[in-house]
Amino acid sequence: MTKQQSVQNSPDSNGASSSGAPEKAGIILTTLIVVAAVANLPLAMANVALPSIGTYFDASQTQLNLVAVGYSLGLACSVLWLGALGDRYGRKQIALLGVTLAIPAALICGFAPTIQILIAGRLFGGIAAGMAFPTCLALIAALWGPGPKRTQAIALWAATGGAINACGPLISGVLLLFLPWNAVFMVVIPVALVALFLAFKYIPAHVNESTEPVDNIGGILSMVFVGALILTIN
């Protein structure tokens, strides 16, 4: 592979510079923070609602653990493969798909008639997040050239993600004062709609992407490996 083959577009033709920030850096970073929030919120918020879910479905502890773990399981096991697919076929496209699928996933969880469907919805939501999440840092790295500005962008993006995680229990606690457990899963829908609009409008497509074929066998192996690892730990 020569360099020409592996770099699809020359960086300057896409508004991304080899060093420093892209045009509209502020709004692009905001978009990526909101997209990451779509992936992170369901992870951070569900645990507080577990006791009410347990009572509602008369669920066993194992089933409740699966509701808690299902999302991170779907996310963790798909993220390496989907990240590579994004590098090859378009990070913007995969991010848009992931954010879009987060909406039906939230609806499935919120309206789940049985605990099994709720668990399936969590797994599905995790995979949707696996599409949205790995494209965020990848886009920052592809759009901001190496250097202090990229580090600043990564710092803000990582810190906001951590802060949203830390606020998750409070947001769901407050919601549960007024609403049934279903609301905890629905919160992400308006955030996803905002993320969809912002991502569609502001994220540049196909910057610094790869043209090499994706190692799909490796992708499947990584999925089974990380999935089994997470289940073993839990």
């Binding site: 592979m1 360099k3 592996s6 507080v48 773990v69 991170s72 996310l75 963790a76 993220v79 390496l80 990240g83 590579a84 697919l85 994004g86 590098d87 790995p134 494209t135 840092l137 990848a138 920052i140 790295a141 592809a142 190496p146 990229r150 580090t151 600043q152 990564i154 710092a155 993006w157 990582a158 810190a159 993600g161 951590g162 802060a163 995680n165 830390a166 606020c167 229990p169 409070l170 606690g173 407050v174 004062l177 610094n208 992407e209 790869s210 074929p213 994706v214 190692d215 066998i217 490796g218 192996l221 990584s222 990380v226 089994a228 690892l229 997470i230 289940l231 073993t232 730990i233 839990n234």
Partner: protein, 296 residues
């Protein structure tokens, strides 16, 4: 349960070996092991696992401690963490400056020091009747640690991979949070359960009427704080003794978990100290990597 865990562990091990073989042979590996063994990649990845794992583990313990021992409501316990969230955002821009001024190694070590202080504060001061400022103070240090550590770990990952393959770095960043959170939560959870059961069993043995406590009630009492509380409601005449024994037992389990947190942070700090390159060497290495990746 034990059989299931063993077979899952076996599946994980076998697929890991197959994955490594595949990645060494594949022409366009999904997870380029030549990149993954770069110290700016793997040490940063492990450091991030410990920092984010500590955050989630401490939140997991803290929520239960605040509700069980201090009697906070769910909402109050959620709000108690807010200082951590604020500190993450406040510290993050400074951590970016530190990464470029002093290097990732220095910034990561500073982050680990802050998380260490947070766990020490929890270990020493979080008891029955602790006032909120000591709770908040521990969360301030935890938030500062995560704000300081999140930047260099994600940034080093992104800087260590070729630009057309940043999905690998981004995926690893996510795994740091997921694996770190799962690992620390299950270790803390197991220690909490074991410490709780041990302390509760000696409390039952020491009770004046211990011979009257049936073995099924005793095992219910030793199971968890919540199940001990259920028993306390069934035997209102002993409710006070049961609740106070359960609080003591919870704190005993909690202390084991904090010690585990302290050990994890010290191991991580040692790893970074010995294996992550210093500032000058870090920049030199990253330039070598970029040159090597550009030639491919």
């Amino acid at each position: 349960m034990g059989k299931l865990v063993l077979s899952l562990a076996a599946v994980a091990l076998v697929t890991l070996v197959l994955f490594i073989i595949r990645q060494r042979r594949a022409e366009n590996p999904l997870y380029d092991l030549k990149v993954a063994v770069r110290p700016t990649f793997w040490v940063a990845a492990v450091g991030g696992i410990i920092v984010f794992g500590s955050l989630m583990g401490a939140m997991f313990l803290g929520q239960q401690f605040l509700q069980n021992v201090l009697g906070y409501s769910t909402v109050a316990a959620g709000a108690a963490i807010l200082p951590a969230a604020v500190l993450m955002i406040v510290v993050a821009p400074r951590s970016a400056k530190l990464v470029h001024g002093q290097g990732s190694r220095f910034t990561l070590l500073l982050s680990f020091a802050a998380v260490l202080i947070a766990f020490l504060l929890m270990f020493v001061f979080w008891k029955e009747g602790t006032s909120y400022w000591l709770i908040g103070l521990a969360y301030v240090f935890l938030g500062a640690g995560v704000g300081l550590g999140g930047t260099p770990s994600s940034n080093s990952l992104a800087a260590s991979v070729p630009i057309t393959k940043v999905g690998m770095a981004s995926g690893t960043t996510d795994l740091q949070r997921d694996l770190g959170g799962a690992l620390m939560q299950s270790i803390f959870g197991a220690l909490l359960t074991a410490g709780f059961a041990g302390s509760m069993s000696s409390a039952i043995a020491a009770a004046p009427n211990s011979s009257e406590i049936s073995s099924s009630v005793a095992s219910q009492l030793m199971l968890s704080y919540a199940s001990a509380e259920t028993i306390a409601q069934q035997y209102p005449q002993y409710a006070n003794q049961i609740t106070s024994a359960a609080k003591t037992a919870f704190l005993a389990g909690d202390n084991y978990a904090y010690i585990a947190g302290i050990i994890a942070v010290l191991i991580g700090a040692a790893l970074i100290y010995f294996f992550y390159p210093n500032h000058a060497k870090e920049e030199e290495l990253l330039q070598t990597y970029h040159a090597a990746d550009a030639q491919q």
